[in-house]
């Protein structure tokens, strides 16, 4: 079934992830060619396109979002920018002191590891509500509808409890002061 741009936006605003699947299938060839033509690999192309779709998702899900061009044009621009940044990052990495860079990454890795482990220990509904709130930027009303909760207050309370549970989990392993330099 062919969807119009406005139908796609409508679906995204409802948090319907199948709209992303549709866009992915619809436009991947063009993005693939763009990256391949610019010294990229197929895997890099797909990665970049997935990232571009996620950027688009985050924008489009916002109630205030208004599309000023065709979705395909928007995605193409995002892809181009992301790929340009990726090329710059690659070049910078080649030029910079790799050892120093790796050391800094390792230092931060421990904290990130703990956080990720704690997130994965959360229940599915907690993970969802925190993701919808912090990543997707959905309003409490949207979250309530998407998750089948009674109302936005219920969603708000649940979000608060889930965040507190995550904080407690992380704090039970490390205190903020442990991360002091």
């Amino acid at each position: 079934m062919k969807l119009t741009d406005s139908q796609i936006i409508e679906r995204i605003k409802l948090g319907d992830e199948t709209a992303l699947d549709y866009l992915y299938k619809q436009h991947y060839k063009m993005m693939l060619r763009m990256v391949l033509r610019n010294n990229g690999t197929e895997q890099e192309a797909l990665d970049i396109f997935q990232d571009a779709l996620i950027v688009f998702w985050q924008k489009a899900v916002n109630v205030d979002f208004e599309l000023t061009s065709k979705i395909s044009t928007y995605l193409f621009s995002v892809c181009k920018n992301l790929w340009r940044k990726e090329l710059e990052r690659k070049k910078k990495f080649e030029d910079s002191d790799k050892e120093e860079s790796e050391y800094n990454q390792l230092e931060n890795q421990e904290m990130v590891k703990i956080i990720h482990a704690c997130i994965s220990e959360l229940g599915d509904s907690c993970k969802k509500i925190l993701s919808y709130h912090y990543f997707d930027g959905l309003s409490m009303d949207q979250i309530a509808k998407k998750m089948g909760l009674a109302n936005s207050d219920t969603a708000k309370t649940k979000r608060y409890k889930c965040k507190k549970r995550l904080d407690d989990l992380i704090r039970s392993r490390y205190k903020a002061s442990d991360f002091l330099d």
Binding site: E17, L20, D21, Y24, K25, Y28, K29, M30, L32, R33, M34, L36, R37, E42, L46, D47, Q50, D51, L53, I54, W57, S69, K70, S72, T73, F76, M111, V112, I115, H116, I119, S120, K127, L130, S131, Y134, F135, D136, L166, D167, I170, A176, S177, F179, L180, D181
Partner: protein, 294 residues
């Protein structure tokens, strides 16, 4: 403000509900209190962790989607109905501009009528011996098919002595071919080096003929006629580089004209003088521009 309140400010910061005054206070505290800074960094990483987890979830979802193989993706065209090979007939306006200015002395507008007999300047033959030789070998009739009385014949090589009853045909200068290169050799060796450095100069696939005619009305308007693989362009194409892109697919072909950062569609079997229309399909336009950029 107590430390607890600063923690609340941190929370408000990541909720997006912090005021500008509160943010200024928090910034000041972060730069002076390592513990508050550590808490801020922790919360920042938590939010980032949640975002990353969600991002991964979405990416994994997309990665599971079954897509055709790379080869198919590359061979297939993004242009929906053009799945085949792009046989590019690309012409750079700069080449045209160069050729127009270089051969300015040789190019003379001629008035032709269908019944008019053509008599060409014999001295031109002496200037272009190879061109004549090549032409004689091929024994092609050089016929200009036109009913217009005001055509600029752009190709200097077509200046040969020949009499034909009704018409004479010229290969358009703008569609560069290997044979064209030979002709240019005799006229300006230095400029030929420039041409040879361009891959485009060796594109011999094209069979479409192009003729350039004076603008129909306004100088800024572009018109065309296109039928029997013959394209007539009306307008001033000298100022800006342009390209003609021919996309072929299973015996079907579609011409596009890229000029002044716009892409125009050229419809086949257009016998009437028609204004060039800008391509509305932005995706297709991007495709064409990608080809042009290459």
């Amino acid at each position: 403000m107590s430390e607890t309140n600063y923690f609340r400010l941190i929370e408000a910061y990541f909720e997006g509900s912090i005021t500008s005054t509160e943010k200024a206070m928090l910034d000041a505290k972060i730069s002076s209190d390592p513990l508050v800074k550590a808490e801020f960094d922790l919360q920042h990483n938590i939010v980032k962790g949640i975002s990353n987890a969600r991002k991964q979830e979405l990416k994994s979802r997309l990665a599971l989607i079954d897509l055709p193989t790379n080869t198919g993706a590359l061979l297939g065209s993004g242009v929906k109905w053009l799945a085949g090979t792009v046989v590019g007939v690309t012409i750079f306006g700069s080449i045209l501009y160069w050729s127009l200015t270089t051969f300015d002395t040789n190019i003379k507008p001629i008035d032709l009528k269908i019944t008019q007999k053509l008599v060409f300047n014999e001295t031109s033959l002496a200037n272009f011996p190879d061109a004549v030789e090549e032409t004689e070998k091929s024994k092609q009739e050089k016929i200009i098919k036109t009913t217009s009385s005001n055509i600029k014949v752009l190709k200097a090589a077509s200046i040969i002595e020949e009499e034909k009853d009704a018409t004479a045909r010229v290969e358009p200068q703008s569609l560069m071919s290997y044979e064209d290169d030979k002709l240019f050799t005799n006229q300006n060796q230095d400029d030929l080096e420039n041409i040879e450095s361009r891959e485009i100069a060796h594109n011999t696939i094209n069979k479409t003929e192009v003729e350039f005619l004076d603008p129909v009305e306004n100088v800024n308007d572009f018109h065309y006629r296109y039928y029997n693989s013959k394209l007539y362009l009306y307008g001033d194409f000298n100022e800006m580089p342009y390209q003609i892109i021919e996309l072929n697919d299973k015996g079907k072909k579609q011409l596009f004209l890229s000029h002044s950062e716009e892409v125009y569609m050229i419809k086949d079997n257009t016998t009437e003088i028609t204004q060039l229309r800008k391509l509305q399909d932005e995706m297709l336009k991007l495709e064409i521009q990608l080809i042009v950029e290459e």
